[in-house]
Amino acid sequence: MEEQKTTIEVKSLSIGYKNYAVAENINFELQPKELCAIIGVNGIGKSTLLRTLGKLQPKLSGEILVEKQLLENYNPSDFAKQTSVVLTEPIASKNLTVKELITLGRQPYTNWLGSLTATDKKYIVESIQSFELEEFTGKKCHELSDGQLQRVLIARAMAQDTPLILLDEPTTHLDLYHKVQILKLLQQLAHQYSKTILFTTHEIDLAIQLCDKILILDGQENPFAPPCELIKEGCFNTLFPSEMVKFDAKTGTFKVNK
C-alpha cells in the first residue's frame, strides 16, 4: 500500500484578529482525493479559517502544515504553487474574458512578463475542458451568470495546479441545481485529479451527501470526521438552537420545528 500523503495538517490552531480570537482548538488533516466541508453558524469563523489557511491573514497560534511544511516558511510564490483559492469577494475587473481569467491561474509558473509555455497552455485547455467552458472562453465575466462565473473561478484555481484548493462559500447565490452542479464538480476534481479540496458552506444536507470529511466549527470541540460518523455522534443536533430546527439522523437533513 502506498504511503499516506498528507496535504494539509492543522494542529491546535487559533484564528482571529489582533485583539480577539474568533475560533480556537482547530485540528484536522486531509489527504489527496478528499473533499471536506467546513460548516458552522454565521460568524463562527469559517471564512476567517479559510483565509488563514490561504495565508491571506496571519494565524494567532498553533500550526498549519501544507505538504509537510509550515505555512510561515513558504515564500509567496512557492505557496502559490501549493494552494489556490476561490473567494467570496467579487473579482476586481469583470472586464476580463474567461480565458484571460483562467490564464491568470498560471502566474506562479510564468516568467517575469507572464509568457505562457506549452505546459501552461496545456493546463489552461485542460481546465477549460473539465469545466465545459469552451463556449465561454471569449466572453467577458460580466456577461456570465453567477453559476457560470463560479465555474470559471474554480477552473482558474484548477489551472493553478495546486495540491490544495480552498473555496469560500462556493455555492452562495446559486439555485439548488447549480449548487449541486458546483459541489459535484468539486467532488470530481478531488477524486479524479487527486486534489485536496476544503470549502466553507451552509449547504449541510448536500455536504453530508457529497463530502468525504466534514469539519464542524462550533466554538468548542470543532469535531472533524466523515459525515456518517458525525451523524452517529450526534454532532449536528447541537449545531443550531433546537427550538427552531432539528436534525433528522435517518435522512441526514434538517427539519423545521412546526
Binding site: 483565509r51 490561504g54 495565508k55 491571506l56 509567496p76 510564490s77 512557492d78 505557496f79 502559490a80 504553487k81 494552494t83 489556490s84 483559492v85 473567494l87 469577494e89 467579487p90 473579482i91 476586481a92 475587473s93 469583470k94 472586464n95 476580463l96 474574458t97 480565458k99 484571460e100 481569467l101 490564464t103 491568470l104 491561474g105 502566474q107 506562479p108 510564468t110 517575469w112 512578463l113 507572464g114 509568457s115 505562457l116 467577458k140 460580466h142 493553478q160
Partner: protein
C-alpha cells in the same frame, strides 16, 4: 496570450502610422505658416526658403512634438496603472489628487519663495527644483491616497478623498497667491494652464529620462498588474507580494505624473480617458498589450490636442488644458452613456 499578441500586431502598426502622421501634422502647423514641403526639407536638412523656419522647426516645434508624445503617453500610462491598482475606472492622476499634489509642490516653490526667501537666495528656482517639488507633491498625495486605500476598501470614498485633496490644494494655492507678487503669480498661472512647448532640448532630455524610468517600471509591473485585475487577495494567492508591487506601481505613477505635471502643468483628462479609449480598440485586459497601446494612444491624442491648441495659421495659442478637457470630458460621458457602465 501570445497568439493574441500577434493578432494585435496590425493594430500596433496602425497606431505607429497614426503617431507618425500626427507627429508630422503637429510640427507642420503653428503660428508661423511654413509650407509642408519646406517642413519636409527642414526635417531632412534640405534647403529652406527662409532660414528662421529651420530654426523654428528644430528648436521649437520638434521639442514640442516630442514633449507632447512623452506627456500624453506618460499621463495615459499613469492613468492605466492607477485604474488597475485602485480597481477603479475613474482613477487617474487628476481625479485622485495626484496632479493637485504636483500643483501644490509647484505652487509652494513658485509662489512660496517670497515667503520662504531662502529659496530665492539660493537661486533654486530652476527647472530641476520645479520637477523635484512637483514630483514630491504628487508622491506625497499618492502615499496618502494609498494609506487611505488600505483602510478604506470603498473606492467611492477614495475618489471623494482625491477631490478633497484637490480642494485643499487649491485653497493653499489661493492663500499663497494672495501673498505673492504679480510676476510669480503669472508664472504659476501660466504653468497651471498646461503647455507642452517652451522646453529646451536639455529639459526634454531630462523629462524623457524620467518618463523612460517610469515606463520601464511599468513594464516590470505588467505581470503584477494582471494579477491585480482579480483583486488584492487573489493577487496575493497568486504569489504577488502586495507591498512591493504596490510600491513599484506607485513609484512608477509618481515619476510619470509628477515629472510630466512639473514640466507641462496639470493636464486634465488624458490619464482618465485614454485607457478607456484604448480598451475600445484593444479588447483585452492583458497589460502586455495595454501598456504599450495606452502609451501610443495618449501620445497621439496629445499631439492632436496640441495641434488644435496652436490654432493653425493664427498667432494665438490656447491653453492645452482647455483642449484636453474639451475633448476628454465628452469622451467619458459618451463612454458612460453608450456602455451604461465604465468597466476597467
Amino acid at each position: 496570450m501570445q497568439s493574441k499578441a500577434k493578432s494585435y500586431q496590425f493594430s500596433f502598426i496602425l497606431l505607429l502610422g497614426v503617431l507618425l502622421f500626427t507627429w508630422f501634422l503637429n510640427i507642420s502647423s503653428g503660428s508661423v505658416n511654413i509650407p509642408i514641403k519646406s517642413t519636409f526639407s527642414a526635417l531632412f536638412n534640405g534647403e529652406v526658403p527662409i532660414d528662421s523656419w529651420k530654426y523654428i522647426i528644430w528648436n521649437y516645434r520638434i521639442p514640442k512634438a516630442f514633449t507632447a508624445i512623452l506627456v500624453g503617453g506618460g499621463l495615459a500610462l499613469s492613468g492605466l496603472l492607477m485604474q488597475t491598482l485602485f480597481r477603479n475606472p475613474l482613477a487617474g492622476p487628476f481625479v485622485l489628487g495626484i496632479s493637485s499634489g504636483a500643483s501644490l509642490g509647484a505652487a509652494l516653490l513658485l509662489l512660496g519663495s517670497s515667503l520662504l526667501s531662502g529659496f530665492a537666495v539660493f537661486g533654486f528656482l530652476n527647472d530641476v527644483s520645479l520637477v523635484i517639488a512637483a514630483s514630491l507633491g504628487s508622491f506625497l498625495v499618492l502615499l496618502i491616497v494609498m494609506l487611505v486605500a488600505n483602510r478604506v476598501r470603498d473606492t467611492m470614498a477614495l475618489l471623494i478623498i482625491g477631490l478633497m485633496f484637490g480642494s485643499v490644494t487649491s485653497a493653499i494655492v489661493s492663500v499663497l497667491a494672495y501673498f505673492s507678487d504679480a510676476e510669480q503669480l503669472q508664472r504659476f498661472i501660466f504653468w497651471s494652464y498646461g503647455s507642452v512647448g517652451n522646453l529646451s532640448w536639455n529639459q526634454l532630455i531630462l523629462l524623457a529620462s524620467i518618463v523612460f524610468i517610469g515606463v520601464l517600471l511599468s513594464v516590470f509591473s505588467i505581470k503584477k498588474l494582471n494579477a491585480f485585475l482579480l483583486g488584492e487577495n487573489y493577487a496575493q494567492s497568486l504569489g504577488v507580494s502586495l507591498k512591493k508591487s504596490r510600491l513599484l506601481i506607485i513609484i512608477a505613477t509618481g515619476l510619470l505624473a509628477g515629472s510630466i505635471t512639473a514640466f507641462a502643468g496639470p493636464i486634465a483628462f488624458v490619464g482618465l480617458a485614454v485607457p478607456h479609449l484604448t480598451r475600445q480598440l484593444f479588447n483585452t485586459m492583458e497589460h502586455k498589450i495595454l501598456v504599450p497601446a495606452v502609451f501610443f494612444y495618449g501620445a497621439i491624442l496629445m499631439l492632436l490636442c496640441d495641434t488644435i491648441a496652436q490654432l493653425p495659421n493664427s498667432a494665438s495659442v490656447l491653453p492645452i488644458n482647455a483642449i484636453t478637457s474639451l475633448i476628454g470630458a465628452p469622451v467619458v460621458i459618451w463612454l458612460l452613456v453608450r456602455k451604461r457602465k465604465l468597466l476597467f
